[in-house]
């Protein structure tokens, strides 16, 4: 049991994050101060939220490239609602954001489920469509800090028990997803669909419908993150979170979620996101050329995938001992 724990994917990744922190501390000691680490966690919260949604989708053998575009569109819509009607309370804004995100996720899911279009093509298409809609809605204009209401901007920043609400949202989501993936029928169905779709069908699981729910969940999280993102950075425009979908996929891959589906955990997604979060926050303070920064992020992903490939190499099981000896 102890050995399994020590060699598990999550333990290795956790160890890697600690080593990374120690290395950063030798160059910039203030980085590991608790307040700064809390800041890093807060900064990584949007990535954690999206990585959880992406994890669910990847587990079902799909991929969601539209998360960042979904985030940006939801963010723009809620920002424009806020400008048009500053009195709309934050809970309503959050609800609208989640609903809108859910809708966009469900749209992806329907295309994958009912039309059986390959997931990468569907989400590549909707990614462009969602970005295009932002342009149509906003006519390319920005929504700026001074146009947003104070309450709209304050929500993710509000301190609660020593941490900002943004961090708490991520913590609650991690716990909720842990329960969802390990304790509910849907959670187990998601693993089953990704692990062995044919076997899943025989156990009475509708593969397409499970994938639809995975996209819907991912969309809901992207919508929620859309509001949090726009509120935190206090600006909404067409290109916010541009290219962020790849960071999200990278977080999942680093977290040990198998890109072919069926393998991966909530803790893995959390640690994968934190790993990238630590790197992203540390690179600016340890004074490394921006050209190297990209290479370092890329190298981390390759190392993680190499690890995955090693781990998923099935040894093959000998089922006929006598036959083996005979040969």
């Amino acid at each position: 049991m102890m050995k399994r724990l020590a060699t598990s994917r999550e333990a290795i990744l956790f160890g890697a994050i600690l080593v990374l922190l120690a290395l950063i501390a030798t160059r910039f000691p203030a980085f590991v101060a608790p307040s700064n680490l809390a800041g890093v966690f807060n900064d990584t919260s949007p990535l954690i939220l999206l990585a959880l949604g992406q994890m669910v989708v990847i587990l079902t053998k799909c991929i969601d490239l539209s998360v960042a575009a979904n985030l940006a569109l939801t963010g723009m819509v809620v920002a424009m609602i806020n400008v048009a009607a500053p009195g709309v309370p934050v809970p309503v804004i959050v609800t609208v954001a989640v609903l809108l995100g859910t809708l966009m996720g469900a749209f992806n899911g329907l295309l994958v489920w009912l039309l059986s279009i390959p997931p990468i093509v569907v989400t590549l298409g909707t990614m462009t469509i969602y970005r295009g809609i932002i342009f149509l809605l906003s006519e390319g204009k920005w929504v700026n800090a001074h146009e947003m209401s104070p309450a709209f901007k304050a929500f993710p920043r509000t301190q609660f028990l020593g941490l900002p609400v943004l961090s708490w949202v991520a913590i609650v989501a991690v716990i909720a997803f842990y329960v969802l993936m390990t304790r509910t029928t849907l959670g187990r169905a998601i693993y089953a669909v990704g692990g062995n779709p044919h076997a899943a069908v025989y156990t009475g699981i509708n593969v397409g419908r499970t994938q639809f729910w995975a996209y819907t969940i991912s969309g809901a999280l992207a919508g929620l993150t859309g509001y949090l993102w726009v509120s935190r950075y206090a600006v909404a425009y067409v290109d916010i979170a541009g290219g962020f979908e790849l960071t999200v996929v990278a977080a999942c891959v680093i977290g040990g979620i198998s890109i072919v589906g069926g393998v991966g955990t909530v803790i893995g997604a959390l640690l994968g996101a934190l790993f990238l979060g630590v790197i992203n926050n540390a690179l600016p303070v340890i004074d490394i050329s921006p050209f190297w920064q990209m290479a370092i992020s890329g190298a981390a992903i390759i190392v993680a995938i190499a690890f995955n490939a090693q781990a998923s190499k099935t040894k093959g099981r000998v089922i006929l001992k006598s036959a083996e000896h005979a040969a």
């Binding site: 910039f28 800041g39 920005w142 700026n144 600006v235 290109d239 979170a241 600016p284």
Partner: protein
């Protein structure tokens, strides 16, 4: 649509003929913009009217297509040729597509210049840039230095490490640093014009250099992200965020005090200068040729380089005193 436009241009020509009859010696300068209804160009038109009033006996025809297309501008230019205006000053939607129409205008003796967004050299007599690399480089350092009487550390937050214009401005800024004793440029970081990365880089700058007095961001995404990072870190008054931004986007930062001042070209001055130059050329007071110096009235004068291109002035500085006036313009 095209019938309507034809009728409109016919009416315009008739109106023009009546106008010509009324004031035979009046100078008519057409200010052709990328599209009507854009705050930046409306402001430029205001500047053009100001120049016209100052020059006297000058009429401004402020016009442009309803959407930012080269075809629309060509129609407008053809209509202006038919009206026989004295000068056309154009901010082009396409550098090459307008050349034939503008050549035709020059053949008819119309003075043609481009401003803001240029036309290929064949299609204009000269081009007026809002500013130049050297002037921008100097301005961004000056903006920071003006609010640092005792000197101190400043850092630059740029867009991508490979952005040509930003890098040119930063090089120019470094070149003028010796003129600002006490100002110490400690780092140049890159936010890739992404708000989250720029925000993180700004946080990193504040963590690495606790005595940092100013963050200079010559990019509209970067300056906003840095402003938000400084606000969230509670360092308003300690770290001044400055650089290049748009008044409509920066109003909140100036109001909160995170930004003392920032710069960008002034559209009013640009419209004024373009009109003044067009008038000077059309009236024969100046000639557009390499090395020529042409008056821009209250702004000074512009010197043309070997492609007949000139730079108007330093970028215009915006602060608490004028942000209210400009934030609704662009």
């Amino acid at each position: 649509m095209s019938v309507k436009k034809k009728i409109m241009s016919t009416v315009a020509v008739m109106a023009a003929m009546t106008a010509t009859a009324a004031h035979a010696d009046e100078m008519r300068v057409a200010l052709v913009v990328k599209a009507l209804g854009i705050g930046f160009f409306e402001a430029a038109a205001k500047g053009a009217e100001e120049a016209a009033a100052e020059l006297g006996n000058t009429e401004i025809i402020y016009t442009g297509p309803t959407d930012t297309t080269a075809e629309g501008q060509i129609e407008v230019i053809n209509a202006l040729i038919a009206q026989g205006v004295n000068a056309i000053a154009v901010s082009a939607n396409d550098a090459d597509a307008l050349v034939p129409a503008l050549k035709k205008a020059m053949d008819r003796g119309i003075t043609v210049i481009s401003w803001d967004s240029g036309v290929a050299p064949d299609g204009r007599m000269m081009h007026l840039n809002p500013s130049s690399t050297e002037l921008i480089g100097n301005t961004i350092i000056k903006l920071a230095a003006d609010h640092m009487p005792d000197g101190g550390d400043v850092a630059i937050l740029s867009a991508t490490a490979t952005a040509t214009n930003q890098n040119a401005w930063i090089e120019a800024a470094k070149a003028v640093l010796p003129n600002y004793p006490g100002i110490n440029l400690v780092a140049t970081v890159y936010g890739d014009d992404l708000s989250d990365k720029s925000y993180r880089e700004a946080e990193g700058l504040m963590a690495t250099y606790p005595d940092l007095k100013a963050i200079i961001a010559p990019t509209t995404v970067g300056i906003l992200a840095a402003c938000q990072a400084v606000t969230d870190a509670g360092k308003i008054g300690q770290v001044n965020v400055t650089g290049l931004g748009l008044p409509s986007e920066m109003a909140g930062c100036v109001e909160s005090g995170a930004t003392e001042s920032f710069a960008i070209w002034n559209p009013i001055d640009l419209g004024y200068a373009a009109t003044y130059i067009a008038h000077e050329l059309a009236s024969g007071n100046a000639k557009a040729e390499p090395g020529a110096s042409i008056s821009m009235g209250r702004i000074g004068s512009v010197t043309l380089d070997d492609t007949n291109t000139g730079a108007m002035s330093d970028p215009f500085t915006y602060d608490a005193s004028n942000i209210e006036q400009f934030k609704s313009i662009f």
